[in-house]
Assembly symmetry: D3
Homo-oligomer: 213 residues x 6
C-alpha cells in the first residue's frame, strides 16, 4: 500500500541472483546488473550523440533503469523455458504485464499510475533508445560471462552465454556504438591476461567473421 | 552426454536457492530441501505403516527424492506466475515434462531411459505415497517459514507461506500421518520460545478451526 | 587503458560493501545503492514535476548514477574521519577530484574526457537536481538503517544513521518531494510491523517536531 | 522433546560444512551430500538390478539417507584423528552409537524407537545395499574433489581425497555398478575440459592399473 | 615441508568456523577467536599487574595466541564427544599431542622444534598465565553467545553456552581480573538494549548467586 | 562507556574486510590478519633471538596485536589516498591519533588510559620490534596476494601487491629474520604448484636481484 512498498521492493532486487543453479565465482544481483546496464547505456548513448544521433536521454535512462524490474514478480525464469514455444512466450509476456499493472494499481497513487505503467513496460523497442538498451544489456552479460571465463570457470554454459551475448550485439552492428564497442572495447577485453585466452579469442573472431563483419 | 552429466547436475541443485528475492536469515537449497522432504516422508510413511497402511517404500523414496529435480531445467518460477492462468499452468507442465524427457534422452543410455522417465515425472498423485509426498513437501516449507518467523523476519510473506503450507497439510487431515503431525509435532513447534509467539499460535488455531478440525 | 577499464570498474562497485566494521543482517554494495538512489531520485523528480517544477532529467540521472563512483578510488572512508577537520575535508575533496581526473585522462579517449569530467564531479549542488540527489541519497540510507532496526539489530549505530538521514532530509523540507515523502511514505514505513516500533516512531516524531514542522 | 526436535535437527545438517579448514571454491553441507549420495545410490542400485541382482530398495534408501546423520552429535572429526589408533576408533564408534541411542530415547515416542535405532545405525555392512552405499559415498566425494581440482584449487589435499576415494571404489570393483562407473562415468568425467587435465588422467590411470584392473 | 607450511596453515584457521551445525547470525573463525582471546588476555593481565601480580607477558601471549592451534589437526570436535568418557578424553589428548609433535618434526627445522613443542602444548595450566588464558577463552565465548542472544537467536544452545562460560569464569573468581570483569564489564554488557534482557539478567544473577558471590 | 565497549569492538574487526572493491577468492578480516601477523612476528622474533639478538617480547606482541586497531575508527582507506600528498598523510596520522586518544579517554577507566595510549600508538618504529612488525605485516600481505595469484585471480592488483610487499621486506634485508625468510620460506612458497608459476618466480628473482642481494 503505497510508494513505500515500491521503495522497499528495490531492496528485493538486491536479493535476486542472476543465473541461479550454476557455480559462479562472482555473483551478480538484478539491482547491480540494472546499475551497470544504465551506466553502459550512458556511454553507448554518448557515442551515438558524438556520432550525430539525437539521443532522448530521459527515455534511455528510464528504459535502462527499469528493464528488469518485472523479475520482482516473475522470479528468475530460465531462458529456454521462456522461449520453449511462441505460445508460452506470449502468455508469459501477458502475465508479466498483468502483474506489473496490478502492482502499480495497488501501490501507486492514481496521479502516478500512468507514468509508471509507461516506465515499467518492455523497453527494448525499435527506437534508438530501445536499441541502445538491447546492446547495453548484452554488453553487461558479456562482461559477467567474461569474468567467469577469465577466472577459469569450467562450466561450458559461460562460453555459451558469451557467444549468445556477442551474437545479439552483432545484430545491432550498424549502430555507431556497436562499431565503437567492437573496435575499442572488445579488443581491450580480449587482451587481458588469462588462461583460456586462445579459445576465447578464437570464438570471438569466428562469431564476428560469420556475420561478415 | 552420459550419466556423468546427471551426477554433475546434482551439484547444481545445491546452487538453486529457494524463495529468491526475499530477505532470509537462513537460506535453503533445492538439494537440502529434497533431503529434508525425503527424511520427513520417511517418518510420515512410518506413521502410516504403524497405523496399518501398506506403504510402497520404493515408490515413496523415489517420489520424495526427485520431486523438485525439474527445477534444474525451469529455474525458480514464482508460484503466482505458475498459477496465473489455467492455460499457462498447463503449458508450463508440458514444457517441464518435455525438458525432462529431452534431458533423459540426451544423457541416459537407452536401457535406463524408461526407468528415469518414470522416476522424474510428477510424483504428487492420488496414491498413498503421492499424498505423503504432498504433506512432507509442505511440512518442510512450514519449517522453513517457521524458522524465519521465529527469528523475527519482518517480511509478511513468511506468515503467508506458513498459512498456505498449513492449509495444504489440512487438505490431507484424514491421513494418519497428518493427524499425528498436528497432534504431536505442530504443538511442540508452537511451544518453542520466540517473540511473535502469540500471533503465530493465533493464526494456527484459526486455520485449524476453520477446517472444522 | 580504455573504456574497457571503465566498464570493468563497474563490477568493482559491486564489491564495496557499505558501512564496513558493523554487523548487518543485510549487506548493500555501492552498485546496488547507486541503483536504488537513481530509482528514488526518479520518483522524487516525478513529484517535483507534478508540482509544476521543471526537472532536467538528463542532469538528474547523471548525478544520481555517478554520485558514489569516486569510492572506487578512495575506498570507504568513515564519515567522522572525512569531517574531522575543515582542512582535512578540503584536502580530501582535492585528492578525490585529482584521482577522478587522473583516471579519466588515463582511461578515456580524448573526445569523451570533458563529458566524463563533468559527469563524475560532485553532483550535490544547489540546483533542483542536486537537491533531489541529496534527498534521494538519504532516503536510501534511511531504508538501509530501517531494514536493520526492523530486524532488531542491537547496534545503536543504525538508530544514529536513521536519525542523521532524517535530519538531512528535513533540511530540504521546503521541497515538494520531501513534503510528499514525509506525508505519504515515511508514515507507511513506520506502520510496518516490528518490535522496536515505539522507539522508532518516538524518535521520528521528535526529530520532525524539533524542526518546527 | 519429540519428533519436532528430530525434524528441526534436519536443518542443522544444512549448517555442517564438509572439509572445514581448507579453502574450497564450492562448499557442501552434510544435508546436500546426503541427498546426492542417495541419488547416486539409486542409480548404482538400478545398474545392479539391471545386471540381475536383487536390490532391497527400502534398505538401500534408508542406509543412504541416514549414513551421516550422527555427525549431528559428533561434529566434523578429521579422518586422521578418527583412525589415529584402533583403540580410539573403537571408542569413537561406541560414543557415536551411545549418543545416537540417547537422542532417539529422548526425542522419539516409544513406538518408533526400535525403528530409528535400526535406521540410524552404521549402514556400510557387507550386504549388497551396504556395499552400494560405500561406493555411492565415495563417488560423491570424488565429485566434490573433482570440482575443486577442475577449478584449479591449488590445495594438494583435494588430489589426495580424489585418490583415496578412487582407491576405495576400486575395492568394490567386482560389483556391476563399479564396473559401470569406471567404464562409462569416470571416463566422461575425465574428458571434461580443465587445466590440470593431464595430471588427473595420469593419477587415475595409475591407480586403476595398480589394482590390476 | 618447512616454515612455509606453518605460515600457510595460519590461513586454514580462518576457515574453521566455530560451533558448526547451529544457525548463527554472526560466524567466528578460530583465527579471529584467537586474536580476540589474546587481546582479552592482554587486558586481564594488565588488571592483574595493576593489582600487584607479576605477569610473565611472554608466556601469557604465547599461551593465548596458540591455544587453539591444534584444531588444525583434529577439526572441530563437539564438547560432549570430547568429554564422553575419561578414557576417550585421555586418548584424545594423546592423539592431539602426537599430531602436533609430528607436524612440528615434519615442518620445523631442528633448531626451532623444542621451542614450538613448548609453544603449541596445552596452555591452560595452574600458572597465573594459564589461569588468565582459561578466563579469557571463556570471556570471548561469553561475548560470542551474548551476540547471538542479543540478536534474538531462538536456539537455546546459546543460552547454555553463555551459562557454561559464566560458570567457568566463576571458578576463577578469586582472581583480580575476574573480580574486575564481573564488576565493571559484565554489568555494562547486561545493560545493553535487547529483547531477551530480563531472561539473561535473571540467568546471570542466579549463576553468580549460586556461587555465593 | 567502559571496557565492555572495547571488548565488543574486537568483534567489529572481524567485519572489516581487507582490500575492498576487488574480487578475491578468499577474504581476510582485520581480526584474522592481526592474528596472523602476531604469529609471524613470533616466528621472526625467534629467528632474531636464535641469531643472538635481544628481543623484547612484551613489546613485540603488543605492537603486532594492535597494529591495525585504529582501522576501527578510520575504516579502510586505500593506500594511494593515504599517500596522495605529504600534507594529507600528516593530517591523517593526526586524525587517527586523535580518534584513538578520544576512544581511550571515553571508554577506559583512568588507571588504564596511559597504558592503552602507549599500546595503540603506531608500532612501526626503528626498534628491533618495530622493524620485525614491519616485516611481519608485509609477509602476511605477501601470503594474501600469493593466495590469490595461486588461485589464478586475473586481477593484476595482486601481482602489484605481491611486488610492493616483497620490495618492502627487502628494505629490511640486513635483518636475520629477513635473510631467513628469503632463503628458507620464500623459496618453498615459490615451489608450490600453480599455473602462473613462471611469471611469479620471474618477478621475485628480478625484484631480489634489483636490490643487489
Amino acid at each position: 500500500m503505497g510508494v513505500h512498498q515500491y521503495f522497499k521492493s528495490l531492496s528485493d532486487l538486491e536479493l535476486i541472483i542472476r543465473c541461479p543453479g550454476k557455480f559462479k565465482f562472482q555473483e551478480h544481483s538484478v539491482a547491480s546488473h540494472s546499475f551497470k546496464v544504465t551506466k553502459i547505456a550512458q556511454f553507448l548513448g554518448t557515442v551515438e550523440e558524438e556520432s550525430g544521433q539525437n539521443v532522448n536521454w530521459k527515455s534511455l535512462y528510464e528504459k535502462a533503469l527499469n528493464h528488469d524490474y518485472a523479475e520482482l514478480f516473475t522470479g528468475d525464469i530460465k531462458t529456454p523455458v521462456k522461449y520453449a514455444s511462441k505460445e508460452l512466450k506470449k502468455l508469459f509476456g501477458e502475465v508479466e504485464e498483468e502483474m506489473t499493472r496490478s502492482f502499480i494499481e495497488k501501490e501507486f497513487p492514481t496521479e502516478f499510475q500512468a507514468i509508471y505503467l509507461e516506465r515499467l513496460k518492455e523497453g527494448k523497442d525499435e527506437t534508438l533508445e530501445g536499441r541502445i538498451l538491447s546492446v547495453a544489456d548484452k554488453v553487461d552479460l558479456l562482461y559477467e560471462s567474461f569474468g567467469e571465463i577469465q577466472k577459469d570457470n569450467p562450466e561450458p554454459l559461460f562460453i555459451e552465454i558469451y557467444e549468445e551475448a556477442l551474437r545479439t550485439i552483432l545484430i545491432y552492428q550498424d549502430m555507431n556504438c556497436v562499431e565503437y564497442f567492437l573496435k575499442h572495447i572488445l579488443t581491450d577485453m580480449l587482451s587481458e591476461r588469462f588462461t583460456e585466452h586462445d579459445e576465447l579469442t578464437g570464438i570471438t573472431v569466428r562469431i564476428i567473421e560469420e556475420r561478415g563483419n
